[in-house]
């Protein structure tokens, strides 16, 4: 962590920030559900090799699609 994050690592960090910001736009009551969901989705791949670029890129693409879907304002809660 002390070394500055580069390239794809930074992309993941920025994507995570987008997710959290999107969750913050949701109603206060259901916000924890979204935050927990983000944690679990990221947590699933916690043990991914840092050089496994193909997988990380794939997950970023899938994640961006999901973010687009979940950040729609009509969607107010998830389980």
């Amino acid at each position: 962590m002390v070394a500055r994050l580069r390239g794809i690592q930074q992309d993941v960090i920025h994507f995570y920030r987008q997710c959290i910001r999107a969750a913050m736009k949701k109603p206060v009551e259901t916000r924890p559900h979204f935050i927990d969901y983000i944690h679990s989705e990221f947590g699933k791949h916690k043990n991914l090799q840092r050089k496994d670029f193909t997988t990380i890129e794939y997950l970023l693409r899938v994640g961006n699609k999901k973010l687009k879907m979940y950040s729609q304002p009509e969607l107010k809660d998830i389980h």
């Binding site: 962590m1 500055r4 994050l5 930074q10 960090i13 920025h14 995570y16 920030r17 910001r21 913050m24």
Partner: protein, 131 residues
């Protein structure tokens, strides 16, 4: 100071212009509008945030965040990852919470560089939109 200025100057202006009725009317509407909207610049509206105040609020946010190890001993020199035991994603989450508190959005480039309480406080005090 401004008010005393108006008090002393208004009658004088009216007296001088009242010779011509048209001029008197326009002068009175002009003065009326002036006294209704005290001069206020957009930038002057929000007073700059006090550094100690910002530090206190940032520390409150960190304490409310809950995940940090040594919540009791947060000082401006505290580092997010080393002293608080936050990983990179936790730090992101904490900074978003700070953004919410001060009603700002920290750009990605700057947020990547913020690693300590002091750096965060410096950025917030230098940001005119923070409140």
């Amino acid at each position: 100071m401004l008010r005393t200025f108006f008090r002393s100057s208004t009658p004088l202006t009216l007296r001088r212009i009242s010779a011509s009725p048209v001029a008197a009317r326009s002068a009175s509407t002009f003065i009326g509008r002036q006294s209704f909207t005290p001069m206020r610049f957009y930038s002057a509206g929000a007073a700059k945030l006090d550094k100690d105040e910002v530090t206190r609020r940032v520390i409150d946010v960190i304490k409310a965040f809950g995940k940090s190890n040594a919540a009791a001993t947060i000082t401006p020199t505290t580092l997010f990852n080393k002293d608080l035991g936050l990983d990179s994603l936790d730090t992101v989450e904490l900074l978003v919470a700070v953004e919410e508190e001060f009603d700002i959005e920290i750009p990605d480039k700057i947020a990547d560089e913020l690693k300590s309480v002091a750096e965060t406080v410096d950025y917030i005090t230098s940001n005119a939109d923070a409140n």
